[in-house]
């Protein structure tokens, strides 16, 4: 998959920008704060309906504007050309159009253009709390399985309903139980499917992770992961549901006490290891950086085996900390397995003009104050 043209209006510091990208590799250089990350964030927006930088859509609009627009033309191996546009205004919220017809659900966009992002924020994946790993896992699976995404959305809704009951119900516990039951049935049904899918994907993902860590670190320390959930993750769906029901039953009073759902995939954890060292608590800064990078690289290689269309890869400012050799290894392996690659960098150092000049598959852009110029 690749994006041929991108147009931004009031998108962060881009008042009005239109760019035609090269089919293979696109390098975007510029000083800090010039708007290079915003450019690739807009691509992310068209693939995932949200920014990978800003937490809320409100902050995406150029600071004195109340709306923004992004649109892009994509081409895939399987799908012929199509256009995705996204508009946001304070009053009307977010709207997404594919070939000018509105999408009923924003979630229908996910997976249309698979995308993998590598950024300095990835460090949180291995060093911070379990929710970071759950959202990485959810986002990775959602892009290849619309059914998983639907289950995830349903599960969240069911859990909210259930939590509201636990918070506000006043009356005999027996009545609360009978009111919870219709939600429990659905919680277990969707929750068990989420757990089963997570286990299945992680089992395959392990191999990719091990390989990628070895490639970028050049070391023989074997990375591994353990998926912790309410049951043995290798169980069948029926077995998971059974255990799930048992756990809900066993923890009923605790849930009443805490006024929230405490059993389910929303409390899952994925623990990473290097050899037999638990990474989160014992890993060095360098090991965290390499491991989180390996996670994203593994996601890319997993996608390229799983999907007919190779994903778009965004590398946001990740080469600053790496030496020439690692940079070369990564760019080399990446470009073979992506549909199209975007690299932002504050320094021009690891790149050579000869890769871009006179090469129609690669382009080099320079960004200055929200204005983009095509250098080579």
């Amino acid at each position: 998959m690749r994006i041929n043209r991108l147009k931004l209006t009031n998108f962060r510091n881009h008042k009005e920008t239109e760019v035609h990208f090269a089919p293979h590799l696109n390098l975007i250089t510029g000083a800090n704060g010039s708007g290079k990350t915003n450019l690739i964030d807009a691509i992310h927006y068209l693939c995932m309906s949200r920014s990978f930088v800003a937490t809320s859509d409100r902050y995406v609009a150029n600071h004195d504007e109340k709306y923004f627009m992004v649109d892009g033309d994509f081409t895939g191996e399987i799908r012929s050309s199509f256009k995705v546009s996204c508009s946001y205004s304070r009053g009307e919220g977010k709207k997404i159009f594919v070939n000018d017809s509105p999408l009923e659900r924003l979630s229908d966009l996910i997976g249309m253009v698979p995308i993998v992002v590598l950024s300095p924020e990835d460090l949180a994946l291995t060093s911070e709390g379990p929710s970071e790993r759950r959202s990485f896992l959810d986002s990775m699976i959602s892009q290849i399985s619309p059914k998983y995404l639907r289950d995830l959305i349903d599960y969240r809704r069911i859990r909210k309903q259930r939590n509201k009951l636990l918070q506000e119900f006043r009356g005999p516990l027996q009545t609360l139980r009978s009111y919870l039951e219709p939600w429990d049935l659905q919680l277990v049904e969707t929750g068990a499917r989420l757990i089963h899918k997570r286990a299945e994907v992680l089992e395959r993902f392990k191999t990719y992770l091990a390989l990628q860590y070895r490639t970028i670190s050049g070391l023989d320390l074997k990375p591994s992961l353990v998926y912790q959930t309410i049951t043995d993750a290798t169980d069948s769906i029926d077995k998971i549901s059974e255990r799930y029901n048992e756990e809900l039953d066993k923890n009923f009073e605790k849930e009443v006490d805490r006024e929230q759902t405490i059993i389910g995939p929303h409390r899952d954890e994925v623990v990473f290891y290097l050899g037999d060292m638990e990474l989160r608590n014992y890993g060095s800064q360098g090991q965290h950086r390499l491991f989180s990078m390996a996670l994203k690289m593994a996601q890319l290689f997993y996608y390229s085996d799983e999907l007919d269309d190779l994903p778009i890869m965004l590398l946001d400012d990740v080469f600053g900390n790496l030496d020439q050799q690692k940079t070369d290894i990564i760019t080399e392996t990446l470009t073979k397995h992506t549909g199209q690659t975007f690299i932002t960098s504050a320094s021009e150092r690891p790149f050579t003009i000869s890769q871009f000049d006179g090469n129609s598959s690669n382009s080099w852009f320079d960004v200055h104050n929200g204005t983009v110029t095509n250098k080579y």
């Binding site: 619309p146 309903q161 009951l165 009111y179 939600w183």
Partner: protein, 201 residues
Amino acid sequence: MQITSEALERAIEELAKLPGTGRKSAQRIAIHLLKQSDERVINLADALVHLKKSVQRCSTCGTITDSDPCTICSNAKRDNGVVCVVEEFQDVYIIEKTNEFRGRYHVLGGVISPLENIGPDDVRIKELLERIGGDEEHITEIILALNPDAEGEATSYYINKLLLNYEVNVTRIAYGIPMGTELEFIDEATLSRAFASRTSF
């Protein structure tokens, strides 16, 4: 700005409260009405007052009607053994248009949703049980036709559980594929549900 007609201003304000009508359209409608004959405007006003005054809920099924019981509940030709449970009266209208269903209805007037503070007692479930347990109708089958979202499903489960205590057959409408749609345009979730609830040929 100086207003020369308080009456016009008031009409505009009221019209602008209608769904899909902004102040500009409200202004256009009000000015249009002003130019019509007295008779036409009185007819319109009368129809609106009549709508509010004479439309009521059927005391049996809960759908909207001009006379109680409604024309469906009082129609002797309809099968009073089968009752289709729907969320709102619009759903009755939609199912009626198919001309397929000859039983009667039960309108819940909502679905269970704790987030919106709607519990089982806030929808007409008690009334449904009374109908099933009562002597007037001889209900043998309940068809649950609620929306397949989390709230509709929860309501269906809840009703089904309660009906275990009654001698009545509970069915639900199938999860399926819309007619005239090609398989490749169906989302995966719908398709896998349709597979799970496939019927023999």
